[in-house]
Structures are given as structure tokens and as C-alpha cells.
């Protein structure tokens, strides 16, 4: 069943009603990862609350991109990558043998650093691609979802009269919002964003930051950024990583006003990295 069906089902609602505390959407337990013999992630443990934005910061090579790609099993696309440990989304360990790595990506969407709309498809085609290629046939339903997704991605007003134009004819910032709309069309529960604005100009970046803030109403978002001020602006929780380890994780306000670890303080103050 789709994640929406699951969320709407009776089982899910009774489960959630039982927990008093705001439950964790994503829980990472003892996650280790290697590229060949080199260890990229060392014993990562943290929990992400639902409907929050968590940012991963750290110097180059600290493993933040590797970590985020482990959260929806995209890291398996890289040859020689191996993983040990668990990533729980709600109560399912996505690394469990019974879980289909293809299906899990429909619950956990991803947006990449460089906008990558499908080059041969129109705007409408891009947003609908995930649906069509996953077997959805109902034209009306597809059109509705396309409109909804483009609205959620704050792109509808700019393209509503030009849905047949090629995806690549948009500006960089618009292309990135198109990619977000494409990911949203699959109605994921979690959205992973790998440096979504680093290829964009400041105005486009701030539009995307506002968009991310709106999206957290319905989704849980985890974002990798090398721009600390962006992490400070946009996220509710921040995790600082260094050399494959998660050094500190906490509310953004606390991390940027009073970090507990000296290494964190030195990094965010610009003393290294």
C-alpha cells in the first residue's frame, strides 16, 4: 500500500494514539558504513521527530552526504558501499531483509544538489514521471496530483500556463522546485535534501528555504548543508558531524548559542573546516 494509505489506515491511527510523546519519525541505531575498506560512518545514533527539519552540518568529508544517502538506501547505488546497523522509519527497519529497497524510496524522497529534471520531459511529465512509471494510469488523478505537487512546491503560479514546456527551460531555482514537486508527487513521509540550494543564487535559495519551512507541516525533512547560516535559519534540530562521527545533536538554538562540545563550537565559529 502507499504511505498515504498506511497513514490513513486504522492500524496506524491506533498506534499513534497510544503514544503520548511526539514520536520519532526516523531513528538511526548503530549505523556504520564503509566504501570498500574505508569506514565512512562510525556508530551513528540519533532520532528525528516528526514534522521537524533537521540539518546535518560539518566540514567536507565528514560523512553527512553518506549518512543522508543511507537514510533511503540510495548509498547502495554506489559500488563497494556497505552498511551495518538500522534505520527505523516509524517502526520499520529499512535495512531489514524483508524490505524492498525500491519501495522504501517511495516513502522517503530525495532532492539533490544540482537540479536534475528529466531532460526529455515536459514540466507536467517530470512531475508525473514517478506516478506514471509506478503504474498509475488514471489521467485525472495524475493531473490532480501534478497540480497539488506544483502548488506545494510554490511553482504552480509560475508555470501553470506552460506545463508542456520542457523541464530544462526553467531557471535554476525553478528547476529545483520542479524536482521538489516531482519528489512530493510520490507523497513521501520523509524528504531528504542534499545541499538543495548550493547551486542556486541567494534569492532562489531563500525561496527554497521558505518552501522547506512550509513543507514541514506535512513532512519530516532532513537536510544536508555546508552553509551554516542556512542550517541556523531553516532547521529545528542540528547535527554536527566530523570524520564520520556525529559529534553533537540538539535543538538548533542550543547548538548555535551554546554548543556543548568544543569541536562543535570551533567549527561553527569558523575556527576550522
Amino acid at each position: 500500500m502507499t504511505s498515504e494509505e498506511y497513514v490513513g489506515s486504522v492500524d496506524y491511527k491506533t498506534e499513534r494514539a497510544d503514544s503520548d510523546v511526539l514520536s520519532y519519525k526516523v531513528s538511526v541505531r548503530n549505523l556504520n558504513s564503509w566504501f570498500g575498506a574505508k569506514q565512512a560512518l562510525k556508530d551513528i545514533n540519533f532520532d528525528v521527530k516528526e514534522n521537524t527539519i533537521t540539518s546535518l552540518i560539518g566540514p567536507s568529508g565528514c560523512g553527512k552526504t553518506t549518512l543522508i544517502r543511507c537514510l533511503n538506501r540510495m548509498n547502495e547505488m554506489t559500488a563497494s558501499a556497505s552498511v551495518k546497523g538500522s534505520v527505523f522509519v516509524d517502526d520499520t527497519d529499512i535495512y531489514d531483509g524483508a524490505v524492498d529497497p525500491v519501495l522504501i524510496k517511495r516513502r522517503i524522497g530525495m532532492v539533490f544538489q544540482k537540479p536534475n529534471p528529466f531532460p526529455t520531459m515536459s514540466i507536467h511529465g517530470n512531475v508525473a514521471a514517478g506516478l506514471k512509471l509506478n503504474g498509475v494510469r488514471d489521467r485525472k488523478l495524475i493531473d490532480e496530483i501534478v497540480v497539488d505537487s506544483l502548488k506545494s512546491a510554490a511553482l504552480w503560479d509560475e508555470v501553470k500556463d506552460e506545463l508542456d514546456k520542457p523541464g530544462l527551460s526553467l531557471s535554476g531555482g525553478q528547476q529545483q522546485r520542479l524536482c521538489i514537486a516531482r519528489a512530493l508527487a510520490m507523497q513521501p513521509e520523509v524528504l531528504l535534501m542534499d545541499e538543495p540550494t548550493s547551486a542556486l543564487d541567494p534569492i532562489a535559495s531563500s525561496k527554497i528555504e521558505e518552501l522547506i519551512n512550509d513543507l514541514k507541516r506535512d513532512l519530516t525533512i532532513i537536510i544536508v548543508t555546508h552553509n551554516m547560516q542556512q542550517a541556523a535559519r531553516v532547521s529545528d534540530y542540528t547535527a554536527f558531524m566530523y570524520l564520520g562521527e556525529m559529534i553533537e545533536y540538539g535543538p538548533t538554538k542550543q547548538i548555535f548559542e551554546n554548543p556543548q562540545k568544543d569541536l562543535t563550537e570551533r567549527y561553527i565559529s569558523g575556527k576550522f573546516g
Partner: protein, 285 residues
């Protein structure tokens, strides 16, 4: 110094164009007189007195090339997809690529002989199937090479985008990656088709050539390159003029394939219909 260099490069271009231009001129000059409706549709009449036309040869070329591509295109494209998307850098893949490169350079007469031994001798007589298979053997390495190269040119970000939507790998490959590379793949296919349309040596050993129209998959058939060769070897003037005419037809067919490809690429790139394209051509004038 700049001007000397520019001058030298222009001179080389002119030099390169001369043989091509002179071939076209000769063919048109000598062949145009032979063209007529009868020429295009009737089988050859008497060898001595002339008359008739090269109808069977035209039909044979079209059929043989089509038959060959029925085998060559799927095999070539799928092999190219395998090498680019699935094989990576394993030793097996390395071996396949190496073998493919060797095959692109294989003399066509050798392929013809192999076709003869395997398909003509076993079936018992020259036939179109043997010819189509031989041509497809020439075609496949070209298509594999072009497909693999153009697929490799598709940036990985496109594939990743597809995977991140939860689309199974085979669908990503067929509907997204291949879709993005389709212009290049089509170019490769048309190039291969143009090449095999003009191949003579393998056809000598496999289809024999005949004055009859198509009779069956296990029967011989005629083809333009073969017919041109036969007509040129005859001592009669009318045969020679028929030969020029056939050459002209063959060149027109190959050129049309190229032009068709250009139109297709233009159409896909700019999502134009035919009327818009004609408008553009008028603008260029």
C-alpha cells in the same frame, strides 16, 4: 600567421569536398537519364537488349536492410544498455567491449563467407535470411558502440533522480536513461543502416541476387549494391547506364535516411511539427 592557417584549413576542406562533389556530379550526370517509372518498378528485361528496370533490387535492398535491422537493432541496443548500465567494469564487460571493437573492423567479405557457411550451406541455397543475418552482424557492433557511448553521456544525476522516485532499475534504464539518450541512439542506428545499405561483399555470398521480386524468407533476393556491380560488369552500354541509375537511386536512399534523421532530431529537440520546420527552412533561405 592566422590568415595563413585559416587559408590552409579552408584549402583542405575544399580538397576534401572535391572527390565527394565529383562523385555526386558524375552519378547524377550519368544516372539521371536512366530514371523513369519503368526503371524504378520493373524487373530487368533481357540482358542483351535492355529494357525493364531495377525494381527487384530496390525492393530487395529495402527488405534486406529492414530484416537486418529487425535483428540488429534490438540486439545492438540491448547489448549497449547492458554494457553501460549493468556491466560496469567487470572482466566480462571488458572482454565484450574488446570483442565489439574488433568486430567493427571485421572485413565484410569475411562476414559474408561466414554467413555463407552457416546459413547458405545449411539451408541449401542463397537466401535473404542469410543476407540479413550477415548485414546484422556488421550492424550490431556499430549500434552497440554508439548506444553504450551515448548512454554513458547521460549524467548520473538523471539516473539517480529516477531511482530516488522508487522506480525499478529496468524502468529507469528503459524509460528515463534511454529516453534521454534516444537522439544519439537513433543517430547510431541510422548510421548503421546507411552503412549496411551500401554493403556489397556479404551480399554476394549470401543473397546471390536475382531478377525476381521477393519470394520468401529462404529464397534469394536482389539488392542495389549487388545489381550495380553486376550491371557494371556487363559489356553493354544500356547496362552501364542502368548501373549509373541504380547508383543514383542508392545514393538518394542513403541521403534520405540521413535527412530523415536530421528532421527527426530537430523535431524531437524543439518539439516542432512539420509546418514549423518548413517555416524555419524558409527563414534560413
Amino acid at each position: 600567421m592566422n590568415r595563413v592557417f585559416t587559408g590552409a584549413t579552408i584549402a583542405c576542406i575544399v580538397l576534401a569536398m572535391i572527390p565527394l562533389g565529383s562523385i555526386l556530379l558524375e552519378v547524377v550526370k550519368n544516372g539521371i537519364s536512366a530514371i523513369s517509372f519503368e526503371f524504378l518498378t520493373r524487373p530487368q528485361g533481357s540482358i542483351v537488349t535492355g529494357g525493364g528496370g531495377i525494381g527487384p533490387a530496390i525492393q530487395g535492398t529495402i527488405l534486406t536492410v529492414a530484416y537486418a535491422s529487425l535483428i540488429g537493432v534490438p540486439v545492438g541496443v540491448l547489448a549497449g544498455i547492458y554494457l553501460s548500465e549493468y556491466a560496469g567494469n567487470s572482466r566480462f564487460a571488458y572482454g565484450v567491449r574488446f570483442f565489439n571493437n574488433v568486430m567493427t573492423g571485421m572485413p565484410s567479405i569475411v562476414i559474408g563467407i561466414v554467413g555463407f557457411i552457416t546459413l547458405v550451406a545449411t539451408i541449401g541455397y542463397f537466401n535473404i535470411t542469410a543476407g540479413a543475418v550477415a548485414l546484422s552482424i556488421i550492424m550490431i557492433p556499430i549500434v552497440v558502440g554508439v548506444t553504450e557511448e551515448t548512454l554513458k553521456l547521460v549524467p548520473n544525476s538523471v539516473r539517480e533522480a529516477g531511482h530516488s522516485l522508487g522506480i525499478p532499475k529496468w524502468k529507469v534504464t528503459m524509460f528515463i536513461t534511454l529516453n534521454s539518450a534516444k537522439n544519439g541512439v537513433l543517430t547510431g542506428i541510422v548510421l548503421a543502416l546507411s552503412r549496411i545499405a551500401g554493403e556489397t561483399a556479404p551480399l554476394i555470398m549470401t543473397i546471390l541476387g536475382t531478377s525476381l521480386y521477393f519470394q520468401g524468407l529462404l529464397d534469394p533476393v536482389d539488392a542495389l549494391p549487388l545489381r550495380i556491380w553486376r550491371l557494371a560488369s556487363q559489356p553493354y552500354d544500356h547496362a552501364h547506364s542502368f548501373g549509373w541509375g541504380a547508383a543514383l537511386i542508392l545514393i538518394i536512399m542513403v541521403l534520405s535516411l540521413s535527412i530523415l534523421l536530421r528532421l527527426l532530431v530537430l523535431e524531437k529537440r524543439f518539439k516542432l511539427g512539420i509546418p514549423e520546420m518548413l517555416k524555419i527552412r524558409r527563414m534560413w533561405k
